[in-house]
Symmetry: C2
Subunit: 562 residues, 2 copies
């Protein structure tokens, strides 16, 4: 394509609301444009990249027997009622109505629809396995859309679903899709990890996330350099620690007035001690019932772990009213002593703790000298707190590292939740009716584009990997008024295009400086500059990822690309 | 792909609610599946066809300099308010809200969004022309979704928009896109017409529809075999006719009691005359103001012509209350005599009519002997009625034919309505600010798939044109337990696939009869049958469109396809 005719509206300035590099660069390089909060248009250059990623996905999935289809975006309420998700889908789902006053969800995911679809033709184990996927725009009414296409209201997903007659078959499809995802993200040029992930409210068993490592990532990734263990921070586990609560000298239970001291740092300052001597008591509503959760003052509770341990669907911090009602104190003064009306669940790190400081279950008061065994009725001790840097690996004992990542894919063994509720049943070899065993597999396609940029940029702009670059080569004509430069450029353009390369010919009537800057900004992997050396038949060849260029005969450009 | 592993859930029976061949065949052949009224999934076989049509569209548009982008489906209310369409978009648009209680339309079309998008980078005439398109799911809350994907709530459209600095430029883009559409529909194998069409409420000037001729079509197409004139029935014109109202003998104006005679056939029976002696008086609300519209008893009013003639936005039949108020009579007895409170507009076919029968503007009464000149105050005579078969061509005088068609495409010169209201302005060579001149161009992509089927089927199923067939060749192995048949089939499959053909290998453990029937149903253009003749190295080659087959050496199959 000729740049003079291409719609590439680059921006000189970084837009104000763009916080992370990929968001800034996608806007500046004319890959996307903002319509409204969380809503972006993919401009021609951005769409080229999106299509390249989509085609990599298609190739790898088709090769493994998955078949593409396209389901409606509008999903009838009644189907979500069958799966039981209509009531729990919550505010993240966008909804609409038709003129018959029928309600629809704008597809955030398609488990219900694909299961209903398969149920209509599924009869026998002979019809299985089935592995279907689609590439489609999805909707999520994000509380805080941000980071451009990374967390948008409308975004492109690949969602896939497998149906099997046996656990072995389901595992095989799971492994096959895991393998496909490795191939896909590798081809996209991503530095990623496949990590253990939450099975969430989907009710599945196996769950692996594909996370692109990037400072701008919203997810924490726990990694062990020793044995390769990797997991999402929300559920990563570590070696149970020795008790290291700094018990205070006094083990006598004593109530102390602590007016206004609600935060950990205020309480530790008041008692002149460390956060490790404190026990935080968090009142949660677990499937609407209040539960007190205890963690050490220096640690963070993982709600994902809490949900898994309690086998709950919904885990939210209790309201101020509930806290007041349950503890008899305002927020900030809850404690385990005498809190007998609700279950107490505690993190392993405080098991056996004595001489601890806790809330007093009364306004402006704390206990000191708490002995958990002696003074409290704790129902169970569990691993509930989030791993921190240098905790020890449960598998090999080495110190764990914590990095940031962007979730770009997720493979998930779903089980029979949806096939049971939506009737995707088959007759087995003995004539017995069984629900199909399902897996589901997602890739955030538009997010993957952003993740690639997060890993491939410099101060000049994007540095696309060859496989996903919108154009692989840019031919920059230094002076389009010079006939031999222009003609040589057009001839080379034809030669490379005919050889199958995506080429952008910069034939704009601009000075070379801005042309080079634009080519760098939009990140084309190879730049061929046609300037004064063309008189000797030579051109400059420069890789976007390198600072040096070489002078080569124009006739050698094609073979230098291979 | 191997049929044994393909997801092609064919149906034996015609689904009850499928009325037309394409709908029946798309369901039976496993191309689509119904989710709910007006909502269909494209199954793998159907999606292959959809993608082939999409790629033909892309190739033809890209070649002409149009550039693909992807805009959001969610369109903020405020942008539709700027163009003035929020209030007039009506019930056909589906809407949703986000958590901030912001309202959105689910994109039925993207004039507002693309104009807003272009306005953000457009500065000078040097940025023009711009020609952008997208291929995307659109939404319409159809009153009566029917005919499968032909009239669905959710459907795939190609919508394109051009921006130019001059009328000449806009005309050039219009012609270029018209040319692209001819290439696209020709490559899709469609028998279609480019016909003159309504410019509608979009406020444009030039407008051509691309209509695939088919009995199941919802649109009327008027055609002249003499000179090639072709237009949408709604606005087709014909040679002004000689007055042929069968005036009754009496020209004396007389009021006659006609209790309960409301319909044309009852009134003509009562007066023992023909419908051509009657004048129908229809009360319309034209942009909310009542207007009486007169047509001859045997003719139909074209609301499109009425809207154009009166330069109105909105033309709807008046309510019973309005009719009663304006005419002093209930529905069925309106007439032009004495109807002085509202404007009267009449069809050309009644100009000069005398001795006519009209409503009496009183309950249960008619006038006879009406002389329009003498008795009524008609404001204007216009061409308002719909052409009927054998009306004469305005250009060459030959008899016009009326056929049925399916609108598959529309090219439209929009003008400056959107660029003005949404600020897509540019500075011209003299530094003066002007709105860009726009065109818009649509193709119903999923509808095109259905239209192709309407023109290409027989009693056995679909007969795909090669260019859009989901697979071009099916290799049917008569007996998969016969090793030489199976091996020959797999070898040929590899040979044809390597040569770039989309091949389906029917390796199912079925009898040949059902295999042939399935291959015919899904309409694969070429069938290669590998049976007993393989022992002599021969196979049967049969085209889906022909009934005969030939026996050829298996080594000649590839070259016979070219």
């Amino acid at each position: 394509m000729k740049w003079s005719q291409a719609y590439i509206p680059t921006l000189r300035d970084v837009p104000q609301d763009a916080e992370i590099p990929s968001h800034q660069l996608m806007l500046r390089a004319g890959l996307i444009q903002k319509l409204a909060s969380g809503l972006y248009s993919f401009l021609p250059l951005g769409l080229r990249v999106l299509h390249k990623v989509e085609n990599i996905i298609r190739e790898e999935l088709n090769q493994r027997g998955a078949q593409e289809l396209l389901m409606p975006i509008l999903q009838p309420r009644q189907i979500w009622e069958k799966s039981g998700r209509w009531d729990v889908v919550g505010d993240l789902a966008m909804k609409t109505q038709s003129r018959e006053e029928k309600e629809f969800i704008l597809g955030p995911t398609h488990e219900e629809i694909v299961t209903d679809l398969v149920s209509k033709s599924l009869k026998s184990y002979k019809n299985l396995p089935i592995n279907l996927y689609q590439i489609q725009v999805k909707f999520r009414d994000e509380i805080r859309p941000r980071f451009g296409v990374m967390r948008a209201k409308e975004f492109v997903m690949k969602d896939g679903y497998s149906f099997d007659a046996s656990e072995e078959g389901a595992d095989k499809n799971f492994d096959l899709m895991h393998d496909a995802y490795n191939a896909i993200f590798t081809r996209c040029g991503l530095n990623y990890k496949s990590i253990e992930a939450d099975t969430g409210v989907m009710g599945g068993s196996k769950s692996q996330e594909f996370t692109a490592l990037a400072d701008a990532g919203e997810d924490g990734v726990v990694e062990c350099d020793g044995c390769g263990y990797a997991a999402n921070l929300e559920l990563a586990i570590r070696k149970p620690q020795e008790l290291n609560g700094n018990s205070s000298d006094s083990t006598e239970l004593k109530k102390v007035p602590t007016p206004g001291k609600k935060k950990v740092k205020d309480v530790t300052a008041f008692f002149k001690t460390e956060a490790t001597s404190l026990i935080k008591t968090l009142i949660y509503e677990v499937d609407t019932k209040p539960v007190a959760v205890l963690v050490r003052g220096d640690q963070e509770l993982s709600e994902v772990k809490l949900r898994r341990v309690l086998d709950a669907t919904d885990v939210v911090l209790a309201s101020e009213e509930t806290i007041q009602k349950v503890t008899g104190a305002p927020v900030g003064f809850a404690g385990p002593v005498g809190l007998d009306s609700i279950p107490l669940v505690a993190d392993l790190s405080i098991q056996g703790m004595t001489g601890a400081i806790t809330g007093g279950n009364a306004p402006d008061s704390h206990y000191q000298g708490v002995d958990l065994e002696r003074d409290c009725k704790i129902k169970q001790y569990e691993d509930l707190s989030t791993v921190v840097e240098n905790d020890l690996c449960v598998h090999c004992g080495k110190a764990l590292k914590i990095r940031r990542g962007i979730e770009v894919g997720h493979v998930f063994k779903l089980g029979t939740k949806y096939s049971k509720s939506l009737g995707a049943l088959f007759l087995d070899e003995k004539g017995k009716e069984n629900p199909a065993i399902m897996g589901c597999y997602g890739i955030g396609v538009s997010r993957t584009v952003a993740a690639i940029i997060e890993q491939n940029f410099d101060e000049g702009g994007i540095v696309w990997p060859m496989a996903v670059a919108p154009f692989q080569v840019v031919i920059t004509i230094v002076n389009i008024k010079n006939k031999s430069q222009l003609q040589a450029g057009e001839k080379l353009y034809k030669e490379l295009t005919d050889a199958g390369y995506d080429v952008l010919l910069d034939d704009r009537n601009e000075r070379p400086g801005p042309k080079f800057k634009d080519a760098d900004l939009i990140g084309i992997p190879v730049r061929v500059t046609i300037g004064k050396h063309i008189e000797e038949g030579n051109v400059e060849l420069k890789k976007r990822s390198e600072s040096d260029f070489s002078l080569i005969p124009i006739k050698d450009v094609l073979k230098s690309l291979v």
